[in-house]
Symmetry: D2
Subunit: 425 residues, 4 copies
Amino acid sequence: MSQWERREIVVRKLPTGHAMTVPVFRCRGRNEHPLAYIQANIHGAELQGNAAILALFELLEAETPRGSLVLVPRVNPIAGNQQLGDYVAGVFDLLTGANFNRSYLYLTGPSRSSSACYVDVDAFAAANRTAQVGDIRSGFRKALGAALEGVREESRAWGLDARVELALAIQELAVEADVVLDLHTGDRAPRYLYAPHDARAAIRAFGFPFVIEVPARFAGALDEAAFVPWQDLSDAFARAGRNDVPRLVDGFTVELGSMNAFSLADGRKDARRLVSALRYYGVLDGEPDESDARLVACDLADYRSVFSPDSGLIDLAVAPGTAVSKGDVLARVVDPSRCGSPPHAWEAVTDVHAPADGVALLFHAARGAIATTLFEVAERFQIVDIGFRVHRRRDLTARSPRSDGRRRRRSGHEEVGAHAARDLA
Amino acid sequence: MSQWERREIVVRKLPTGHAMTVPVFRCRGRNEHPLAYIQANIHGAELQGNAAILALFELLEAETPRGSLVLVPRVNPIAGNQQLGDYVAGVFDLLTGANFNRSYLYLTGPSRSSSACYVDVDAFAAANRTAQVGDIRSGFRKALGAALEGVREESRAWGLDARVELALAIQELAVEADVVLDLHTGDRAPRYLYAPHDARAAIRAFGFPFVIEVPARFAGALDEAAFVPWQDLSDAFARAGRNDVPRLVDGFTVELGSMNAFSLADGRKDARRLVSALRYYGVLDGEPDESDARLVACDLADYRSVFSPDSGLIDLAVAPGTAVSKGDVLARVVDPSRCGSPPHAWEAVTDVHAPADGVALLFHAARGAIATTLFEVAERFQIVDIGFRVHRRRDLTARSPRSDGRRRRRSGHEEVGAHAARDLA
Amino acid sequence: MSQWERREIVVRKLPTGHAMTVPVFRCRGRNEHPLAYIQANIHGAELQGNAAILALFELLEAETPRGSLVLVPRVNPIAGNQQLGDYVAGVFDLLTGANFNRSYLYLTGPSRSSSACYVDVDAFAAANRTAQVGDIRSGFRKALGAALEGVREESRAWGLDARVELALAIQELAVEADVVLDLHTGDRAPRYLYAPHDARAAIRAFGFPFVIEVPARFAGALDEAAFVPWQDLSDAFARAGRNDVPRLVDGFTVELGSMNAFSLADGRKDARRLVSALRYYGVLDGEPDESDARLVACDLADYRSVFSPDSGLIDLAVAPGTAVSKGDVLARVVDPSRCGSPPHAWEAVTDVHAPADGVALLFHAARGAIATTLFEVAERFQIVDIGFRVHRRRDLTARSPRSDGRRRRRSGHEEVGAHAARDLA
Amino acid sequence: MSQWERREIVVRKLPTGHAMTVPVFRCRGRNEHPLAYIQANIHGAELQGNAAILALFELLEAETPRGSLVLVPRVNPIAGNQQLGDYVAGVFDLLTGANFNRSYLYLTGPSRSSSACYVDVDAFAAANRTAQVGDIRSGFRKALGAALEGVREESRAWGLDARVELALAIQELAVEADVVLDLHTGDRAPRYLYAPHDARAAIRAFGFPFVIEVPARFAGALDEAAFVPWQDLSDAFARAGRNDVPRLVDGFTVELGSMNAFSLADGRKDARRLVSALRYYGVLDGEPDESDARLVACDLADYRSVFSPDSGLIDLAVAPGTAVSKGDVLARVVDPSRCGSPPHAWEAVTDVHAPADGVALLFHAARGAIATTLFEVAERFQIVDIGFRVHRRRDLTARSPRSDGRRRRRSGHEEVGAHAARDLA
């Protein structure tokens, strides 16, 4: 039987003194670890992750996990309440402009109040030169936790920056996890995944058709905040001559379709993919799904935005998730004020062409209309933001033996289990 | 051959001094009247009307109108540029909160700066007791125009309220028209129509499946600003004992689907319906379409909002445009923070039931999700705004002989034509 | 000894389910009536009323009222939390555009869901033709309360419009009061007062230098919602032949300086004026202050806005509260982009002249700058909004014997006291 | 005689197609260099710099510069038009959340589309090992310009990110300058200056009482974008063994008081300080002012924010620019909803104490109220943001012989003059 605990954490007090609380559901299965941290809705209009977590609640009524889960639906009440007219506009904080998913602390990078690092990986590797991997894991996790405590402590005298307050509360929860899933959506997009580079077996377990592979360079997002310090640690041990310390924590951004859409029925389908990944990581028992689907992946650096060459309304020429060739029309940008006298409808229309081969992944709305995008997209508000995956990968789409990668990870997680057992003993 | 004229009018100067201009396309056919005024996109996110006007441009390349048209796509650059994040939020002015479609001047009502009416219909009827209908039409139109000039004149000393500036510029164009079409969209809605009460034959010419009939009471919208003064005039003549002065101008709000959607292809279909109505009004030659569709209409007073009983994300149970019975589930309102420990998914879900029989017409987004609505909907921002048409009309859905109503209107418009000819002579 | 009661009412649930609560402090002195309802901060940036209410808390620690008070600081958490960047922008609801002080229900006007009035004053006067004034007061108050209950009841089936929800909660509190004070601030303004027409003695008790007299015509504000139904009742009795039923309830909008300013020290000074008015109304014992100050009053209709003739930054030429003559420079509107080559500073400057004699009362900020205003001002966002009091009143500035008006009111309030005593017996 | 040129550059096209233009005034004096680039109002509510530039226009009618100036008032029409209600909220872009003064390109850092640097300073130093300083200056300026051209060129295929579009247009102007002045204001603040570290003589020429010294680390602001690449170049030459290449360009952020304030009269005073600095840099003839004022400076790292410990309205206890000791009350944070029953005013008040000795420099408004700040301040929107300068510097406040530093700089600028002469020759 699972043990459930529910608590509320406060992530901001409004100017009027009302506390913005977040519900945190902790499910302890047979072991404390491996532990998955799963949150939804850090951006206000990205709703669908809540449906997936509700579906996980249903599944966890029937199944006791092998490890544990911390589930946080609706993690950001500030974003969720930022409504203007009929639409939520919750990507950045209306107080500060800060993107809610770019404000996490880089715990192996320079600290905010000094040039010293929060945790110095090389010093840690030196001090733990001969330690076992399980002890390295627990020791490093403690060090990361202590860094977070230090930030909290300093805030007692100087107060706490609103940008950091929410991030700190989330990292205090997520620092315990072996795998972190941050449930988002695109603007108008299919399901896709941001995964750490070098995590192909896990990627297969998710089974999403499109994958963007993130290098171990911190840029403020939660997936990076989760895995980059552990990659840094692995690299530090490698520099110190030990190559047996893999990255021990993974972090993913899971994109569950389009903004401002919400379906309980689709949530059950989305949950099945998360469950498969949780089986892969040993949080749940059983084998992950065998996905026959062809996956399309690209490096984050190859995921580029196409910005519209002109202003106007967007009439999409291809659906998100479509492969296109250089020169294909992605969208028509329409501004009726460009018509002369007598007016010709064609004068209003500017075609946007694909600047390279790729897959049009994500479309940004502009003037309420839809912007065509391949991989990535940005915020050229005049219009369209169209990102491209320039080079198609072959190695991933050619199916590699799943078990290999899997075995490597599992061995790591067996240790997690062992460690967890020790904790409980 | 049509004669085209294109000009730009200024509807606001931004704080930085940049002029917000609007393109006005005037197409003069064989006669100056009947004249149709058609505008699109007064609300920022209601885009589709622009596609319909572009399609009208295409049609007017092939066909010379019997009367004239003034076509104003993208009539409101202030609303169109009010973007926050990826979405346009252009229903109300971020300067003042004023809904852009509620600020028109009621030209037969009390003036803004005194309790006297702009134009006193009873005085006009008394002064024109024995005039012919054609002269009444031209005289009253002149009186309305003079009222608008008076507002403009007063602004020279005191300046001009931003709320009125845009409305005044539009009314200066629309006051010349015999029929006014204001192209909008719902939030998430099918195509439907706001029509003046007592305009069934015209309604058939449009052929939209859903119709809301607007009484002759001014509430600030453009359709009312167009037809209510003329109804007031007709009523004043009736009070003075003349029953041969019908309402000589009609105004419609045409709802072309959902916000933040834009399709050139659909614009061509939408234009066909507008063309049919323009044939009905004699602006274009030919007969309006024979619509076999069953129309569902209700009085504006019967078009009611259902507001959500609780906060949360909306999972729609019925599609916009669906007939429902009292007690049917319209939507599920979902808030995962309502779950306890252990959490059950059903704890998060509150069903919203139809409080009466009706048609769920329009759904308002809330938290980015979709809100279920029958007729009307409002702004209970927590969530759903669900409006209902309570009583189904029979008389309209039973098809009445179209030609009758048509003939009545035509006779009026023949006079318009005659009058126009005199003006030109 | 006063009896205090504190409770929290909920005025909205946020999309995330958090309840927006408002603290209501009720202080019962020796009698339940006369009862004063005082609220602050219905608009988000109008802060100073909170300091005045805190100062009233201090005063009420030392003094037991003769009547009672309901004190509601920070009455509008929705507005108070609507912050964009460093500034609060809480005049209208970002959900709907509705001005928070224009959404109250007119309880002797037509109801929202039908053309019948909530309470029909002529029917009430007919039914109470021979009743005593005290019974008329209590009976009419009950009728108003029942109308509010009807709105609440209807909301059980259809839900409640966000626009009405807050207004209804406030009117449920204020309907019990004999005098209502709604504490606001101007944009950049001196202290001034909106008072019901025909309340000069009370106006003297407040002692504010500037007064705008509001006719008994409902336009949505709380002061009107408080006193207009009682004026309507008085008028109905007069129509029925009884001239001994005065307006039994007064409502004031008290403007305590400028937006976005807050001072506890000034709050103590502001409270002294409120206390003087409360003495006048018999809520507190003792005599109101004798004000020697020259008061300047004008009718609401004479309080006009001057809108800027051009866009730009505003360099004020006169301070708010200054008397000006027609043609005086009120402000300089500055746009450096108007300079040519070589640029001359004077090319950037447009002077705004007073279009009439008056007092420049209120300046609206535009582009962050300050806009010069006499009486009233509006929202021409390009710039300046400058309102004028066109005609100076003499009768008020010539001091009339205070005791007269006072005696009339007191006699009314003695009855309140008697009535209250009966209620308690 | 000066030669003036005026042109308009386009920095964005609105969704409706309207071009947002910026006026650029170029004044060529006796030499092309030294060239000062001065802009105002990059943040929407920071108005006062426009008044200073207008006053410079006046001065330049009487005086021909020794060098040249590029003057850009109202440089950011996007920010200037972002108005919500009465206030401008123009610090970050409502499209993207990006702070308008954090999006500049770091031209000696890694480029946006690859890991290579735009300009590699070590490679440049190697290639110019034996070049003269004047040639180094012109060669490096050309390299920086070429990097900007490369970004522009790439945008032809992929479009241009809205975040970069404005920054690129500004840097294309500023790259030519020998000194860059970016005119800002604080929220509620005295006049103060952000200066490059190691520019004390120039600091004296400005004569502002408070100075924050910025290290040569790029964080996105214009002052850094101006001087950091040149410091990087100087450092690269030092690494290559040449210590005779100083930083050849300086950049300053000049803070001219408080947001949402604008005064032509104060603009003339502000301009005098800018003129003194321009004389120091040799752009204008004559000697800079001898300032006797005691300057207080601190490192950027010592300029810290105090965030409010609680929510509420802010009642300032000290004025911006006041020296305080650890433990002093900076502000009172007031929330009336914290009062119990019976309510005591003191229950509503939380004191904010200085966590260290310092100068309270800048106060951030929150809930419209004022937040107390010493050096820096942040965005804890609940309230106060209070920054501190922890350690007082002695070396600056002890007056050092101005001429020394001055001479060093001048020698550099003599070369500028010489170089400029060569260009013209």
